[in-house]
Amino acid sequence: MTTPRENGQTPVDSEEEILVETRELSKHFPGPRPGLMRRRAILRAVEKVNLRIRRGEVLGLVGESGCGKSTLGQTILNLYTPTSGQIFFEGEDIQELRMGELRSLRRKMQIVFQDPYSSLDPRMPIGQAIAEPLVIHKMASGSELEDRVSELLQTVGLNPGLRNRYPHEFSGGQQQRIALARALAVTPSFLVADEPISSMDVSIQGQLINLLEKLRRQMGLTYLFISHDLRMVRHIADRVAVMYLGRIVEIADCDELFDNALHPYTQALLSAVPITDPTAARTRKRIRLEGDVPSPIDLPAGCVFQSRCPLVQPECANEEPELRQMGDGHRAACIMV
């Protein structure tokens, strides 16, 4: 695969293999119609995103609700057709693939969603739900299929004897394990985990995170871990990308991002997370962002963060800042850094 040329980006080391890459990837949705004869507005959910995910890493994707992180995750998997831009998986442009090729590629890219209950068929026993992708991809049949289902249930920490039960007989945490087993059935190399733990209690979240980490080690998986829980992202991610209104505004190695955030939005986001040390919580200074995230329809020219930015300058309205290299793999889109 050729190394793409991006502004200000140094070529990657040849040893680090890029598994997934997006180039100028955008996904727009039709917005509400402002009036009968007026043109429909455009909701720019994902706007010109360049992202590279290395094989074996966990890329954390963080941002507030409506920032486009889930849309980006689903567009990368081609669950949404991109409006423009390209997606490469193992070096192949997936939009160039024919149907059959795309199907076999789908096997390698899987997703688990926030709400496991709504992603499982309530009338299908869980063993059958896990077997289904194996049947579709003709990967196993007969007793081999049965064995594989048992093995998968064991992998995610569930008793294979429960295979004839229905989703509603399980707790939320167990349902997420079932959804995970189903995703892992086809031995993917890339897994998008879209807020996989948000609906769970703290004591259950840890169990699932530990499972994800174990599976990653055992199966050599690559994750795009989408979450608004910055504490959990710090724990699990190798690199972190921060999204705001459809754009990636900062990306860096995990520790670098949390210890040395450069973009004013990232700084504000980190300082808004409640910290678990009462003494420190009372003495630290919080960067307070005023107002709400603006609507992604009809954004003003220039930087998308200007309306809430504590460092805003007149120049910020001129043009949209590009993600610039700030140091070893650390990039931020802000003219003030």
Binding site: E64, S203, I275, R288, L289
Partner: protein
């Protein structure tokens, strides 16, 4: 110690269902001092919301009913009052902020009217007075252009702003006690931070007492003076916020704290977890309800439920094998 505003004693709220009697609040005792912010922490189903609803007199009946205990506000037992007196006490002395503002607000009523209605009814204000006051309060909770927004409906506000409207309704009668049930859970962190600041401001300005119900220990660390930890319908630990984070006595509290990753540093090893799940209320374990998940559980824990007792310092703990206690 500060003057006690709210005293809950041996509160028992049961749900009478087809599966049998469930006990979401099973002998809960605690107090909230004047000007104090107290956190009530626990995972879903531990009974924290039912405790709040009991205090507010909002337990859905059927299937729920308060079957025992006392709830004293300024020394007066709310459970002994007739409905009408209770309603007045509740609205004038207590305000509640719910988790989901979009279901707590009336979608067909203008926001200004929802605020003034409360004041007209309970403070005997005239329509004009109430409208004027409503503007002030909306302004107070940080809604920009408050006067123009009085005529808007709830759906015209963003999630964070709706939550502010609910706070406005909760504080419009100037209550002594504010009960907040996970009011920031559905919000983004930057919006949550704005609301936490607002509550801290309100508290400092007028010395209100706050009972803050949450599952997020981070929010507790930011906001509260004292914390109660609930598990399976009971308070299992109570301590000042500093003490609780530094020296949790109950293995469940310690487990919760350990299972949270921190923002400040990255732990290399895997997350500590509490094995298993909270118990099903219809099939409560014998003895200490936490014993099936507890690494310190002994035979005694299986047989006998521990009472909430002094834990060395100022705190209380319900455990036969509390941590950080010599001897």
């Amino acid at each position: 110690m500060s003057e006690v505003l709210l005293q809950v004693e041996e509160l028992e709220t049961h749900l009478f269902t087809k599966e049998g009697v469930l006990k979401p609040v099973n002998g809960v005792s605690f107090h909230v001092g004047r000007g104090e912010t107290v956190g009530l922490v626990g995972e879903s189903g531990c009974g924290k919301t039912m405790t709040a609803l009991s205090i507010m007199g909002l337990v859905p009946n059927p299937p729920g009913r308060i079957v025992g205990g006392a709830i004293r506000l300024d020394g007066e037992d709310l459970l002994q009052l007739d409905d009408r007196t209770l309603r007045t006490r509740r609205s004038v002395h207590m305000g509640m902020i719910f988790q989901d503002a979009s279901t707590a607000l009336n979608p067909t009523m203008r926001v200004g009217d929802q605020i003034s209605e409360t004041m007209q009814r309970h403070l005997g204000m005239s329509r004009g007075e109430a409208a004027l006051h409503a503007t002030e309060i909306l302004d107070r909770v940080g809604i920009p252009a408050a006067e123009q927004r009085l005529d808007d409906y709830p759906h015209q506000f963003s999630g964070g702003m709706r939550q502010r409207v609910m706070i406005a309704i909760a504080i419009c009668c100037n209550p002594d006690l504010l009960i907040a049930d996970e009011p920031t859970t559905a919000l983004d962190v930057t919006i949550q931070a704005q609301l936490l600041d607002l509550v801290l401001e309100l508290k400092e300005d007028v010395g209100k007492s706050v009972l803050w119900i949450t599952h997020d220990l981070g929010v507790v660390a930011e906001l509260c003076d004292r914390v109660m930890v609930m598990y399976a319908g009971q308070v299992v630990e109570e301590a000042t916020v500093e003490e609780l984070f530094l020296r949790p006595r109950h293995p469940y509290t310690a487990g919760l704290l350990d299972s949270m990753p921190t923002l400040e540093e990255r732990r290399q090893e895997s997350l500590k977890t509490i094995e298993g799940m909270p118990p099903n209320m219809a099939r409560m374990p014998s003895g200490c309800a936490f014993h099936p998940r507890c690494e310190y559980a002994s035979e005694r824990c299986v047989e006998e439920a521990p009472a909430l007792e002094r834990s060395g310092g100022d705190g209380l703990v319900a455990c036969w094998h509390p941590l950080y206690i010599e001897g």
